[in-house]
């Protein structure tokens, strides 16, 4: 059976001040009828994967919030990691728990902060991916045909064509590339040989665990111990101990870049990884002055800004190229190209003892 695992353990640092400790990024709503990113992710798959087979991996602190946001899910379907250890651990944890009950389980792994406009193409892609994974026991990644030389995403080099299923092409994944500089990104785009690495995957538990055993053997060992402890008296002790000892590493870096048996479904849906404030430029509607704005605002001679207000109003006069965010507790103003520095702002707030604003 196919299970969906939504990764929703983020702390949302990059979307401060709209996202905070008490409301991480996956709980914020951008411009989609007030629905949170997490809710949109759930709704996107719930007709394809039945809610009893949809799971969320999150933190203990966010478990209740997640349950409230997705009342269709049984509480048992919301896994709380003892501590965040990046995606290899989070995915592995869900896999060993579910595989213990269903040794035939296949998995669709989805981040909780993507926006996808064309649901039908998305479903076609994951359906094709699930077929390939079932047949070959490989790890199948969803690649997105790039529409711009984006430097915000990693890239995958297409290898030999493997199959075509329902109009969706599947290739070998030849090489994973980290976020490139502009010139390299342009070269990737022009060559037609690269796709964006979406961070969405399809695999069977067997293929994933075999690859983990080979490339992240310590992860594999720890997760097998956790798996063995489930429902025993030692479950909590073992889980906490093994989890804390895990190296924080992503599935891309820890497994996919090294594994041989990786395939790639080339998808053409309108996909956005809402990674930072500046990425909202592509998400929100724009006015005649190229401002991407949400919430109450008054703009006078303001151009090319990203403007998001919640619980208040933003007035912007004569400014260009800025990100401006208002919440009742905080205002963020930064140049668009500095949007990633919001992490530093969060660090600085901690240093200054201003954690009440996080």
């Amino acid at each position: 059976m196919l299970y969906a695992v939504i990764m929703a353990g983020g702390t949302g640092t990059r979307f401060w001040p709209l996202s905070t400790k008490s409301r991480p990024k996956q709980f914020i709503s951008l411009d989609h009828g007030g629905k949170s990113l997490l809710r949109l992710t759930f709704e996107r798959i719930k007709d394809t994967v039945a809610p009893q087979r949809i799971y969320v991996v999150t933190s203990a602190m966010q478990r209740d919030m997640t349950a409230k946001e997705l009342p269709e899910l049984s509480l048992e379907n919301i896994f709380a990691e003892p501590v965040a250890r990046n995606t290899a651990a989070a995915i592995g944890y869900a896999v060993v728990r579910i595989a213990r009950e269903d040794p035939q389980s296949g998995f669709l792994v989805l981040p909780s902060d993507h926006l996808i406009e064309d649901k039908d193409k998305f479903i076609a892609a994951i359906t094709a991916g699930a077929q390939v994974a079932a047949k070959t026991d490989s790890i199948v990644t969803l690649g997105i045909a790039p529409t711009s030389p984006s430097t915000a995403y990693g890239y995958i080099k297409k290898g030999a064509k493997h199959a075509e299923i329902g109009g969706v092409e599947v290739f070998e994944a030849d090489e994973f590339k980290e976020k490139p500089d502009r010139a390299t990104a342009k070269q990737y785009l022009d060559s037609g040989e690269y796709v964006w690495n979406s961070g969405m995957f399809v695999f069977k538990n067997t293929g994933f665990l075999a690859a983990m055993e080979k490339h992240l053997p310590k992860h594999h060992e720890a997760l097998r111990k956790i798996q063995g402890s489930i429902l025993s008296r030692e479950e909590e002790t073992v889980t906490v101990k093994e989890y804390y000892a895990l190296e924080p590493i992503s599935i891309d870096y820890g497994i996919l870049e090294k594994a041989e048996n990786v395939k790639m479904v080339e998808s053409k849906f309108d996909w956005k990884d809402v990674g930072s404030w500046s990425s909202l430029e592509e998400v929100l509607d724009k006015d005649g002055d190229n401002n991407a704005a949400k919430g109450d605002n008054v703009l006078l001679g303001a151009k090319d800004n990203v403007i998001v207000s919640e619980g208040g109003v933003i007035a912007a006069v004569g400014v260009e190229g800025l990100v401006i965010v208002h919440t009742p507790k905080a205002t963020l103003v930064c140049r668009k190209e500095d949007a990633e520095k919001v992490r530093e702002v969060v660090e600085k707030l901690k240093e200054k003892g201003l954690e009440q604003y996080l």
Copy 2:
């Protein structure tokens, strides 16, 4: 006897969002121990003019707030204008009411939004001004020796020296000049012949009313009618009717620029008319990157900004030359040179039906 009249009827449009309909500019606190501009004005004179002779002219809406801010004042000392009609009417209204009780009354007229650091020099200047006004029955303005070619203030051209009292020089006021452009301001400064028009005045009721009768006869007539109605059954009807019919005009434009008998005390205290957000540059302490900041904030690579947060935090990254203001209900971001456009923001908020933020 000398009476002080504090003009505190402003709506504070230029300091939105810190000043609002429910808390006009004179009630906001800048960087002086949490004291409001109005409170600071009161405290500056209360040892020179006894509180029972200190009066405030404000609007009906702000009368209670004013009483709360200045509990030392009897409620009878807070005059509420039926409607705002600029400074000639506001001052005239206070003068006719007080002169009815005390035909020998002299007046010290003070705006409620000035900052003055050197109280002793201020007291010396008004004392000299009061002596000159008493002797000559002229209108005496307080001029400030300029320290920069400011384009934010009007200027007064010094005439012949009239007197020197307690080390304070008094001159004829030869000419009033509107806010100049930069080049003209520089010329004024270099010539040594000009002072800033502070908007503070000293006069006897007789000298003021005679000048008003000559240069603003309709004002004079209306205010005499109001004066005659005081304590009669028609007082309210007459006051409202006459007041609404008054032309809104400033004392500078309506009387001072035209009157012959105007003298000027040249003062050298550190004076600031806190007229707009950009003027806070000179009021607030600056950090090493030339940011004038007040309230909780985190600045990363931000330079030359005016940053004021209340009830929240401002994070500014990589921005220069901006005014950034945060309140729980609103964020303002504008270029310093556009600080005067806050008025337009307020208009636009009204147009858009967003008056809840005013």
